[in-house]
Amino acid sequence: MPKSSSVKAPAEPGRLSVRKTYKLYIGGAFPRSESGRTYLVDGDNVALASRKDARDAVLAARAAQPRWAGATAYNRGQVLYRIAEMLEARRSEFTALGVPSAEVAAAVDRWVWYAGWADKIAQVAGGANPVAGPFFNVSAPEPTGVVAVVAPSSLLGLVSVIAPAIVTGNTVVVMAAGPQVAITLAEVLATSDLPGGVVNLLTGRYAEIAPWLASHDDVNAVDLTGVDHPDVATELERAAAGTLKRVIRPVTGVDFTADPGLQPMTALLETKTVWHPKGY
């Protein structure tokens, strides 16, 4: 049900409420679109991102990536858990935007689920390889780098594409649907010890922005989960092939309430194998 902005803040008799401005989230800050454009969503003027905003977001994501990946897995887990804490505390902001209470709760729990994976995924997805020779040989997963995401519109869907990407050390540029919910989530992220630039959120029209992200030479992977048109998805896949980006293809009817499994994480991981001789 669409809501008009006037019902979001309950009115005090005799007092005019102060409304929130919905801006982009890039590099830990909340800038307006460099284009100066906005579009009207449920009565709010929301920033309409341009390709240059997307370019800036990729720069921010790239700048943040080595340090985020270099943080200990334990530390990344702590940060994701902190996001869960902050989201829990702001549940009412999401229900006020029309997100069902159960979905907000599921989104909190989804952060907790991924927080726990930070220091375990390598133990499940990596390990010692018994090669035939006097060699130490071990494989371990590493993040692929910067991931561009076209997100689904629900809060749970949005969290379910961001969390598995960043928990392993990737950084993301997210083309969000449902802009008010997405930017409210950005406000959660901005107060959760998450380093600026790890998650960058753009609001606007993915058909305009996603091709620039899919063809960007400094993006390592694209997640097309939120692309709802098969032809557009194919076009984006084709663009991503230019630098052989890893592609998560859209699956129709994803049940975001189910156990996500490992695939959302492993799709955005590289496996590195190290050999070393053994001998006195």
Partner: protein, 474 residues
């Protein structure tokens, strides 16, 4: 000389009551028989508190509470159990200074270690296993692994709260409930942990703490409703437990003694090696089952290394555990001090050369100066028996093969160290060592993600990491 003025950590962050009861079914009570034991501050011999001694009826009640709690707890979705454990982890983080001071008071370990090592590891351990609670299907133990029931857990005095974390966190994450008995000389932090459980609103009966001595432990582990026993302590007691549980079908894991070889080759990075040797044997007063208590140094390098080691030992600061600059605190008990003293006297009598730096020890309390014995051979008792104190035996070797042979020439097999700049040598030596943990160019490193446990008479089963789940799953 640049003398450091006293820098005591404030005791006021912790409020120690005069007496403590047992924590059964979510509440404290004083125990059926009213027997108590006194726990003392080993640095001052001051009595800190009286603690109830759990008799058979008390243990029965605790096990019954754990059994009642087991059904609903194991039936909870993993994600909900996870959130309880995350809460506990967070509360421990928030109360970590208080718990660190308490641990130093009751145990005698320096505040620097309880603050910078024990407490961060305790919180991290709960965080780590919290995350497993809803991921057990991914852990490699089958698609739907099941908990065992009530776990009876007995822990030692050297890392009271950390050993509690190693026991309780995986047990709860996997859906078991526990009755835990802390050590006789260090019961307090476990009782404070009980309060943490209440703060976290953990359902009553999921964690029960029974204090007491050996009789309490023996009764607990024999209890017919205890399905799983986890013990950390000495090898003789572990052996006795294994014998006593034969035929009961109870699952058992044992983390026992050690006599770790710390092997130093002549190309080792000398200054960091000296730090590693010091950390290996003097960390926590040497009250560490995986302590690097046998230094095996390549003969061609021995004089240079020992000169550096002695110079470094002269800067170790022994004294008040609550002083933030103390490196070595108090020996945990009079009994342990007597054991260390006796073995050291035997070492000297057997002909090894004993050396300690100049070091003034406080008048009251239990203290032992950091000590090394040189000229030790495999035949000396100090090279074979676990001293569990700040006493290092130094032996030499000529070739890697000899080093490995000497390192393995012990009934123990908990840990070992290897120091060399040559990577292939590290890996080859590590392959041949019969020890559950091998540290290379480092020592005494612990992480919740990393499994820990011994070969041979150092026990069986692993704690920590993905492997640590296995002991609590059917």
């Amino acid at each position: 000389m640049f003398e450091y003025a006293p820098a005591p950590e404030s005791r006021s962050v912790v409020d120690v009551a005069g007496s403590y009861g047992l924590f059964i079914d979510g509440a404290f009570d004083s125990g059926k028989d009213g027997n108590v034991l006194k726990t003392v501050n080993p640095a001052t011999e001051e009595v800190l508190a009286e603690v109830a001694v759990a008799g058979p009826e008390d243990v029965d009640r605790a096990v019954a509470a754990a059994l009642r709690a087991f059904g609903p707890w194991s039936a909870l979705p993993g994600a909900e159990r996870a959130k309880y454990l995350f809460r506990i982890a967070r509360i421990i983080q928030e109360r970590s200074r208080e718990l660190a001071v308490l641990e130093s008071l009751d145990n005698g370990k320096p505040i620097r270690e309880s603050r910078d090592v024990d407490l961060p590891l305790v919180a991290a351990h709960f965080f780590y296993y919290a995350g497993w609670a809803d991921k057990l299907a991914y852990a490699g133990f089958g698609p739907d692994p099941k908990p065992l029931g009530v776990a009876g857990q007995v822990i030692p005095w050297n890392f009271p709260l950390l050993m509690l974390a190693w026991k309780i966190a995986p047990a709860l994450a996997t859906g078991n409930t526990v009755v835990l008995k802390p050590a006789e000389t260090t019961p307090l932090s476990a009782l404070f942990f009980a309060d943490v459980c209440r703060q976290a609103e953990l359902p009553p009966g999921v964690v029960n703490i029974v204090t007491g001595a050996r009789d309490t432990s023996a009764y607990l582990i024999q209890h017919p409703d205890v399905s799983k026993v986890a013990f950390t302590g000495s090898t003789p007691v572990g052996r006795e437990i294994a014998r006593s549980l034969a035929g009961t079908g109870k699952r058992l894991t044992l983390e026992l003694g050690g006599k770790a070889a710390n092997i130093v080759f002549d190309d080792a990075p000398i200054d960091q090696t000296v730090e590693g040797i010091v950390n290996g044997i003097f960390f926590n007063q040497g009250h560490v089952c995986c302590a690097g208590s046998r230094l095996l140094v390549q003969e061609s390098f021995a004089d240079e290394l020992l000169a550096s080691l002695k110079r470094r030992m002269a800067t170790l600061r022994v004294g008040d555990p609550l002083d933030k600059n103390t490196d070595i605190g108090a020996i945990n008990s009079a009994a342990q001090l007597a054991r260390i003293t006796e073995l050291s006297e035997i070492g000297a009598a057997e002909g090894a050369e004993r050396w300690s730096p100049e070091c003034s020890l406080p008048d009251r309390g239990y203290w032992f100066a950091p000590t090394i014995f040189t000229g030790v051979t495999q035949a000396h008792r100090i090279a074979r028996e676990e001293v569990f104190g700040p006493v290092l035996s130094v032996l030499t070797f000529r070739t890697p093969e000899e080093a490995v042979a000497k390192a393995n020439n012990t009934p123990y097999g908990l840990s070992a160290g290897v120091w060399t700049e040559k990577g292939s040598r590290i890996l080859a030596v590590a392959d041949k060592l019969r020890a559950g943990v091998v540290w290379a160019n480092t020592f005494n490193k612990f992480d919740p993600a990393s499994p820990f446990g011994g070969y041979k008479e150092s026990g069986y089963g692993r704690e920590g990491g993905r492997h640590g789940l296995e002991a609590y799953l059917a």
